[in-house]
Amino acid sequence: MDPLPALIGVSDFVIGLSLGSRLFLIAVGLSLIFGVLGVLNFAHGALYMIGAYAALTVTNHAIDNFWVAVIVGALVVGLVGVLIEIGTIRPLYDRLEAELDQLIVTFGFVLIIHEVVRTIWGSQPYDVDNPAILDFSVSIGGNTFGAYRLVIIGAGFVVMVGLWLFITKTYFGALVRGTSSDREMASMLGLDVPRLYTMVFFLGSALAGLGGALSAPLQSTSPALGEQVIIDAFIVVVIGGLGSMIGAFVGAMLVGLMQAIGPQFIAAGHIAIPFLAMIVVLIARPEGLFGGFGE
C-alpha cells in the first residue's frame, strides 16, 4: 500500500472507499447465502433494487424519514427473499444439479422482479435526496465530500463488524457456521436445517435491501439498476471468495478503488479491469482471496 497514496489523491481514495462500501453492502448478502446454502442467487441485484424502490416510496408517500425507509426497505426485501426461498429454492436442494437449477430459477426471478418493478414504478429514474441531517459537506485534505458519502463508508464498516460479531459470537451464528461446514451433521444433531436456511436467506436478502435503500441517495434508481449491480456483486464475491464475509469486504474495497483509480491509468478500457481481475482470481485461486465462510 505504500506507493499508492503517492500515486492517488485523497479524493480518489475516499471515493474508492465509498464505492467499495456500497459494493460491500450489495455483495455481502450474496456471499452469505452462497456460503451457507450453496445457492448463487442471481436475483440478488434485483432484490437490492427493490430495497431502493421501497425506500424511495416510503420517503415520498408515507413518512419522510430516511432511516425508517431504510429499515422498511430491508424488511420488505427480506420477506420477498423468504418467499422465493420457500417457494422455489427449497424444493431443489436434493437435485443432482441443484446449483445450476437454483441459478436458473433465481435468474427467472431477475426477469420477474425487473418487470414487476417496471409495472409499479415505471421506467423513469428516481432520485432520492440525502437525508436532511446529512445534507452538508466535509472537507478532508483540501477536498470536499458530501457527508452522506462518508456515512456510507461508515455503514459498510458497521455492517461488516456487526455481521462478524453476529456470526462469531452469537448462538445463531454458531448454528450458521456449523450448518455451513456440515449440513448432514447439523441435521443429525436435531437442527431444523430448512428453517435455518430460510432465516439465512432472509438475512442475506435483507442485507441486499439495506444496501439498496442506503445507496438510494447516491444513485439514480431505475429498472436497469438490478442487472448492473448483480454483475458488480459477482465480481466482488468472486475476488473476495464466494461465501467469505471478510472476502466480500476486501473484494468490495479493492473493486471500489479500481473503479475510482482505474480511469487515470487506462483511459480507454478501464471498465474491463474488474472483469480481468475476476478472471485472474477464478483461474489462479477459484476459492478467492479469502476462501471459506466466517474465517
Partner: protein, 399 residues
C-alpha cells in the same frame, strides 16, 4: 412442357396417396417441412422477418445447448461469440469492400465480401474461443458460469470502450448490404426474402451438422461427461480436453448465428455482447427443454413468437419478461423436459388415444381421455399444489 407438369402432378398425387395410406414417414415429414419453410419465404414480409430472427436465435441456442444440455456446462458468456461473429462480419464489410471490388470486380463484390466477412467472423470467434475455452473448462458448475460471464463482460467492456479503434463504441458498426450482380442476375442480401433464404440454408446445414455431432461418438462422450466427469475420466476420456473441444464447437455455431444476426439487423451492436444477450439462449433452452436436440429450437420459437403475441395486446405490452420469468421458474421446478418434452409426451398420449379408439371405439376412447387427464391432474395436485399450500415440500436438510 405439359408432359413434365403432368409427370410432376401425378407424382405429387401418388406421394399424397402413399402418405395417407402408410402414414408419415420421416422422409415425407422432412420433405413437407422443407416445403413449408420455403413457402414461409413468400409470406407477409413481417412474418419473414420474424421467422429469420427465430432461425438465428434457434441456432444460437442450439450451439449453446451443445455445452449446457449435452455436456452439463452452463455458460453465461456466449454473447461473446455471438458478438464476435457480428463484429467480424461488420468490420470486413465496412473496411474491405473496396479492396474486394478491386480484386474480383464490383459485380459480385458485395456477396464475396459477405462471404469473406462470415469466414473472418467465424475465424475471429475461434481465435477468441481457443484461450477462453481452455481457461474456462478448468472450472465446473457455478464457477464455469461465473468465468464465462466474466469473459463475456470483458468482451463487452472492450467493445464499449473500444481501445483498439475497431468497434465504434456504444453506437456499434452499421453495415449496408449492397446489391451484387453476377452474370446479369441481381442478388440483394439486403432484401428480407433473399436474406431469409440465405439464413434458412445456413441454419439448416448447421442444424444438420450439430445433429450429426450429437449423435456421433463425440456426442456420446459429451453425455458421459455430463452424467459423471469422474466415470468418463475413468473410462479413459480426457475430460478437460473434451470439454474444451466441445466449447470450441459450441462457440463456432454461436459465431455463425452472430454473423447472420449482423446481416439481419444491419448492425453489429454492443448490446449483442452484453450478458443479457447471453441469457437469451439460456431462456430459450430452459423453456424448450435442454435434454432434447429440438428443445432450443422449440424454445427459440416460443421466445420470439410469445414475445410477438404478447406485444399484440397493449395491456400486456412489454410484460414478456414477466411471462418468461414465470415460465422458467415453473419449468425448472416441475417440468424439466420443457416444451419439446411436452410435445413429445403429447404426441405419445395422442397415439395411445388413437390406439384405444381403433380397438374399442369412441366410448372407450372418451373414457381413456377422461381417466388419463384425471391422473395428470392428480399428479399436478400432489406435486405442485400441496407442497405450496403446506409450505414445506421435501425439506432440504434432512437427507
Amino acid at each position: 412442357m405439359s408432359t413434365a407438369d403432368d409427370g410432376l402432378a401425378s407424382r405429387i398425387r401418388a406421394f399424397g396417396r402413399q402418405a395417407t395410406r402408410s402414414g408419415w414417414t420421416r422422409e415425407r415429414f422432412v420433405l413437407l417441412g422443407l416445403v413449408a419453410l420455403v413457402l414461409i419465404g413468400f409470406g407477409p414480409s413481417f412474418q419473414v422477418f420474424l421467422f429469420t430472427e427465430f432461425l438465428i436465435i434457434a441456432l444460437f441456442a442450439l450451439g449453446f445447448n451443445l455445452l449446457y444440455g449435452y455436456t452439463g456446462m452452463l455458460s453465461f458468456g456466449h454473447a461473446l461469440f455471438f458478438a464476435g461473429g457480428s463484429y467480424g462480419l461488420a468490420i470486413v464489410i465496412r473496411n474491405l469492400q473496396p479492396s474486394v471490388a478491386d480484386a474480383i470486380g464490383s459485380g459480385p463484390a458485395p456477396l464475396a465480401t459477405f462471404l469473406l466477412g462470415g469466414v473472418v467472423g467465424i475465424a475471429l470467434v475461434l481465435v477468441i474461443a481457443v484461450p477462453v475455452g481452455w481457461l474456462s473448462v478448468r472450472l465446473a458448475e457455478i464457477y464455469f458460469a461465473l468465468i464465462t460471464l466474466a469473459f463475456g463482460m470483458l468482451g463487452y467492456s472492450l467493445i464499449i470502450q473500444d481501445p483498439g479503434g475497431l468497434t465504434n463504441g456504444t453506437d456499434g458498426l452499421v453495415i449496408l448490404l449492397q446489391t451484387a450482380e453476377i452474370g446479369g442476375v441481381e442478388v440483394s442480401l439486403g432484401d428480407r426474402r433473399t436474406y431469409y433464404f440465405v439464413t434458412l440454408a445456413v441454419v439448416l446445414v448447421s442444424m444438420y451438422a450439430l445433429r450429426r455431432i450429437v449423435s456421433s461418438h463425440f456426442g456420446t462422450i459429451c453425455r458421459a461427461v455430463r452424467e459423471s466427469p469422474d466415470r468418463a475420466s475413468a473410462l479413459g476420456v480426457n475430460v478437460t480436453y473434451h470439454q474444451w473441444v466441445t466449447f470450441l464447437v459450441s462457440a463456432l455455431f454461436v459465431g455463425i448465428a452472430g454473423v447472420l444476426m449482423a446481416g439481419f439487423a444491419s448492425v453489429a451492436s454492443p448490446s449483442h455482447s452484453h450478458w443479457t444477450q447471453s441469457a437469451i439462449p439460456v431462456i430459450a433452452t430452459v423453456i424448450g427443454g435442454a435434454t432434447f436436440f429440438s428443445g432450443p429450437i422449440v424454445g427459440a420459437f416460443v421466445f420470439l413468437y410469445a414475445r410477438w403475441g404478447i406485444s399484440r395486446f397493449p395491456a400486456l405490452e412489454a410484460r414478456w419478461e414477466l411471462v418468461f420469468g414465470v415460465i422458467i421458474v415453473f419449468v425448472v421446478l416441475f417440468f424439466k423436459v420443457g416444451a419439446a418434452g411436452g410435445l413429445i409426451m403429447l404426441h405419445a398420449w395422442l397415439r395411445e388415444v388413437r390406439e384405444v379408439y381403433d380397438q374399442e371405439g369412441t366410448a372407450a376412447a372418451a373414457v381413456f381421455i377422461r381417466e388419463s387427464i384425471a391422473e395428470k391432474a392428480g399428479l399436478i395436485r400432489d406435486r405442485i399444489l400441496s407442497p405450496v399450500l403446506t409450505g414445506s415440500a421435501k425439506g432440504g436438510g434432512d437427507r
